[in-house]
């Protein structure tokens, strides 16, 4: 059998797991695909390789797929997301003195309480002319959007009371240690690296801000995706099979060993294993705590591209990127997420498919059975930390109800 070649661009992060496993464990080959992975070190380069044909698909931060489609800071290039590669997996690590003031009791903080304390600290420091500076991995990242959401809902005005800058994840621990930034919101293993060095303490994980926040997606140029629908279906099925393998605890050692290889993350298998088993070391010298929803790669149809997730990201793009709301942009942003392709890929299989393509984000407080066109589907809580809900059909009203 001849295999169809597909190249996927990625950054060496734990949540690039599904494409890596699809290649290494034969899930791609089983779908007739010769998967090649192209590693880079900046999202800008992953994006450029995707747009100029060095790769066919990419492991991408979800908001960047929407920003690229809408043409933020460059001409618009439509991207499509037929599959979500993971939810959450990031944390907020603060310099030891700030962490001590916000969470003196130690452990993971309560996001509401920590937010109120942070607001007081941020204002005090701003008035003293010593603004708190926080690092995120990219302007168009869920890290940036979720951090800002948490700050703003806690009474902090991002860009006024605090400064938010971009730091490359591999340099984040350094930046924290030297005082270049006072806190970072990054994915694993970079929080752990900072904690191990004693440069900071993890006070929150982003899953506490939005329990089911979309993180990385599989992005494909829309034209290319529509030109080869059948091949895309096979790729989506291969990634799904990789997800099923990934979530089984007896595979964690094997998965961590594969991800740690020099070709992929080139890092510590022990740190990677900790992250994929939802264990987080909050402070140096402590023992890891287990936070079951820390990173979410597959369970509960996590790979399903909910249109409402894209809509929420668009709302935050409007809020934080100086973009005026427009109905046309809102629908273009929503169209980036393609549940129709996901459904077509699994039609006639036993894989559970939600009946709806969008949901009221934040409305599920406890595990709930939802309508499915095939299979049985239970969804866990998708709450925002401030108990708000987001209706993807009323983005403008949502934005008007939010502070600054």
């Amino acid at each position: 059998m001849t295999l169809d070649p597909i190249r996927i661009g990625f950054l060496p992060l734990v949540d690039a797991a599904l494409p890596i496993l699809a290649r290494e464990l034969g899930f791609a080959e089983a779908e007739g695909i010769a998967l090649e992975l192209v590693r880079d070190i900046t999202w800008a380069t992953v994006r450029d390789r995707l747009l100029y044909g060095h790769s066919d698909a990419a492991h991408l931060i979800a908001p960047l797929a929407i920003a690229t489609t809408l043409g933020r800071r460059r001409p618009p290039s439509p991207l499509s997301v037929p599959f979500v590669l993971g939810l959450n997996g990031n944390a907020i690590t603060l310099a030891p003195d700030i962490a001590e003031e916000l969470v003196p009791e130690g452990g993971l903080g309560d996001p509401k309480r920590v937010g109120i304390r942070f607001a007081a600290l941020a204002r005090r420091r701003a008035e003293a002319g010593d603004r708190v500076r926080l690092g995120v991995v990219h302007r168009y990242s869920s890290h940036n959007f979720m951090l800002r959401y948490w700050l703003a809902q806690s009474g902090v005005r991002p860009d006024a009371d605090v400064e938010i800058v971009v730091v490359s994840p591999p340099l984040a621990a350094d930046a924290l240690a030297t005082g270049e930034v006072h806190g970072i919101c990054v994915g694993e293993p970079w929080n752990s690296v900072a904690v191990d060095r004693g440069a900071g303490r993890i006070v929150l994980v982003t899953a506490q801000i939005w329990r089911r926040g979309v993180e990385k997606v599989l992005a494909i140029p829309t034209g290319r995706m529509e030109g080869e629908p059948e091949l895309v279906h096979r790729l989506v099925r291969a990634l799904h099979a990789a997800g099923r393998h990934f979530v089984q605890p007896d595979h964690f050692d094997q998965v961590a060993a594969i991800l740690a290889r020099a070709d992929y993350l080139d890092g510590s298998a022990a740190l990677i294993r900790r992250a994929i088993s939802d264990r987080i070391l909050l402070a140096r010298g402590g023992s890891p705590v287990h936070f079951p929803d820390f990173m979410f790669q597959h369970r509960e149809a996590a790979n399903f591209p909910w249109v409402s997730q894209a809509a929420w990201l668009y709302s935050q793009l409007v809020r934080w990127d100086g973009l005026a709301y427009s109905d046309a942009d809102a629908s273009a942003a929503k169209r980036v997420f393609r549940p129709d392709i996901y459904r077509a890929a699994f039609a006639g299989t036993g894989i559970p498919l939600p009946g709806a393509s969008a949901k009221l984000e934040g409305a599920i407080a406890r595990e709930t059975g939802v309508g499915a066109v095939q299979g049985r589907l239970l969804l866990g809580s998708d709450s925002f930390f401030d108990d708000r809900t987001f209706d993807p059909d009323h983005i403008r009203a949502y934005l008007e109800s939010l502070p600054g």
């Binding site: 070190i41 900046t42 380069t45 747009l51 100029y52 060095h54 990219h138 302007r139 490359s168």
Partner: protein, 193 residues
């Protein structure tokens, strides 16, 4: 027109800078350090920034350019929509350009084309250098393997070489691979070298 060349390879940056100078563009600066990059750019206020595609500072830089909208000089990635091939060629060569708002594409294109040619030339040079280095290394490896055989078996140089060659032919490997294997074994069990 001030041009900043950002590249962690000082050699390549120098080659670009020299090319620009030949084309009469002498107001250029080369930045190879990651630390303090943004502060330097702020001071220099270049109108064009050339950066290698694999530079680890690209995300940080793009964010800085986005924020600089609030400053006097908006700067954005140069994507020539009237000639998509030009941008594609730049990405292929491994370079990207950012320019301040309002600069005419006709002024940028020659700079980008020059950078592309210089990047390609640099890649070619590197490939040749790599080839030359591995050829030298291979010759050295074979020399060492020959010496081991000569000492161990009391044979002369042509005989040692013939032994390596015939082993390579029998096992369908390159002579240098056989030589490497021999040296490894000698290192493990021979107790010297």
């Amino acid at each position: 027109m001030r041009i900043a060349v950002i590249d962690e390879s000082a050699g390549r940056a120098a080659i670009i800078q020299e090319g620009l100078a030949e084309a009469g563009l002498t107001d250029t600066v080369v930045l190879t350090e990651r630390h303090g990059l943004l502060a330097q750019l702020e001071t220099l206020a270049p109108e064009v920034v050339l950066i290698n595609l694999e530079n680890p500072s690209r995300d940080v830089l793009e964010d800085y350019f986005a924020i600089s909208r609030a400053l006097a000089t908006p700067i954005a990635m140069f994507v020539d929509q009237s000639d998509a091939e030009a941008t594609a060629a730049a990405v292929d060569a491994g370079v990207s350009a950012y320019v301040v708002d309002g600069l005419a594409p006709s002024r940028i294109r020659p700079i980008l084309d020059l950078a592309v040619r210089r990047f390609e030339a640099f890649s070619r040079l590197q490939a040749e250098l790599h080839e030359a280095r591995s050829a030298l290394a291979a010759r050295d490896t074979i020399e060492r393997a020959k010496r081991i055989l000569m000492e161990k078996n009391g044979i002369d140089e042509p005989a040692a070489y013939a032994a390596l060659r015939s082993q390579a032919m029998r096992t369908n490997r390159r002579i240098v691979e056989v030589a490497e294997a021999l040296i490894t074994v000698e290192n493990l069990v021979g107790g010297r070298l």
